[in-house]
Amino acid sequence: MPLIRLVTLFGLAGLMLAGCGQKDAPRTAAGELIIRIGSVAPLTGPQSHLGKDNDNGARMAIDEINARGVTLGGKRVHFEIMSEDDQADPRNATIVAQKLVDARVRAVLGHLNSGTSIPASKIYHDHGIVQISPSATAVAYTDQGYKTAFRVMTNDRQQGRVLGEYAVKRMGKRVAIIDDRTAYGQGLADEVVKAVEASGGTVVKREYTNDRSTDFLAILTTIKARNPDVVFYGGMDGQGGPMARQMQQLGIKAKFLSGDGTQTTEFLKLAGPAAEGVTASSPGLPLTKMPGGSEFQKKFTARHGHIQNYAPYAYDAAHALVAAMIKADSADPAKYLPALKALEMRGVTGMVAFDDRGDIRGGAITLYRVRHGKWEVLETVSSAGAPAGQKR
């Protein structure tokens, strides 16, 4: 059967050729070049609601970009998101980062937490992969001096200063501090301590918990003995909610103050009636005041429901990344990195532009308070007077 043999031979050769082509430049069925972008956040575990939110924000941006169509270096490209789960765990973060490096992603959007973004950033840096975190706020993330590490959210030095000053000036001079011992919680709490002391207040007690606990009665009882005016918590909503409840249960009169980790819709649900009167800050402008906020909310809600917290930032991070690639006309990190550094983009969260360290330029901090079961804007403090790059 020579004919069949011939056909088989041709078929095999064809397959091999196709295989070769795929090896260094994967393509879609339509012949577009596939560019992989990693998206990392805790997709399982106690912070998965926030992780999914970030992932959805990044995916929405990438889907829009793909629908619009992008040409890089004369070739049509198709962006593909590789979602990975770091479980909010620093050890997992490095494993996942290595996996993405091995999969040859051209950039990473993430991670969600500071504690995971920091160890992962070394791996990305060593392999020359650009990382934009939508929500890591710990000062240490960009303090390492990696040229590949960026973030689109104001850092904790600015946020901590605003929180500490607000606590002393508006809420009371005796402040008790609790943190969850994560890079984010501890970092923010440290900055708050500095600001409280600098503005003439006293830290009456410093206590600690972890990011998986639900029982805070023991530490709150110790804090109660010191009669604070304000209890500040550096950590996430899963702990902040029950903590607010347990403060009420113990009859602690002090006001509850927290950072962006608890300024979520989930917190309102978890704290129940105890949420009333709680104050928290969040980097950036409130969603309604963001230049593209209401439009983003409409689009996002139609696709995924409620916005938890950081989705707009993940969305902007993705758009900023692609904008830099388009400007450099390349998806090669070495080529588009300078374009990203010089980028000035009007995002939904505001202007996206980075300073030398990779921090966002001139971000704002907004303070919120719960009234009638809703977060209401108290005031927005601009940190433009002290951009992250000048304070070192």
Binding site: L43, S48, K52, T222, A225, R245, E266, L270, G272
Partner: protein
Amino acid sequence: MDIFGQQLINGLVLGSIYALVALGYTMVYGILELINFAHGEVTMLGAMIGIAFMDAMLTSTTGVPGLAVLAAGLAASIAVCMGIGFSLERVAYRPLRQAPRLAALITAIGMSIVLQNVAMLIWGKQYINFPPVVTLEKYNVGGAIITNLQIAIVILSCLLMMGLLALVRFTSLGRAMRATAQSTETASLMGINVNRVISATFIIGASLAAVAGVMNAAYYGIAHYTMGFTLGLKAFSAAVLGGIGNIPGAMLGGLLLGLIESLGAGYLGQLTGGFLGSHYQDVIAFFVLILVLVLRPSGLLGERVGERS
């Protein structure tokens, strides 16, 4: 003194929840020498099912008093968890009863992962609120504050523990359980249906876990599909602390662990002059556990375990 009293109350309530869960570990270990690592997950499912049932009841009916809803939710949770405990043993452990002990242990860990992921698929990754069926009332006892919920938790767990002790000591099922624990083969030669006794053990353990799960969720106001892991680990430690396989030991271990945790977090900083703080809350609990294992490997009340293992 009021602060010390408050810490005692905190620890006592935490401890009674640990004790209820610890009983499930210790009963199964006593009879099968199996550490049922899926037990923490049964506790989590108990909380989830209770909440789901209460939510369904609150949306479909009106005017039912909160306590009745809570009681119905608790009953539903116990019923479903009994089924889960029974099927867990039937499906996962019975086929492996003659297999090396390690196989059963690994199966237990596997079942724990399965149950956790099933819960994640059903209830999602969100934290789940406990429905507002209990109105919290606070009482001031010499400066320390105790709530009606805390009193209810302590009393209910005490009652359940007494009931369990009475069941093991005075009923024929209890006698059969004790006989099976001593020797499965001899018990079966004496005409005891060993399979039924083991099923009953799992069912009782699971129902206690269901109560503990609902209590835990009510106490902290939230439930989450990962809550069973830490709770299970702590309860397991409590069971080892008291002497695994020993029922009064699990109760003592649970209460002690709760108190140690609470007082440790409250006073460690003061005692060490700020050198160690409340971030060592978990460490101190496990440190005490290690001390007990080194100085008294069979646990505080366990004397039979040494010869059996």
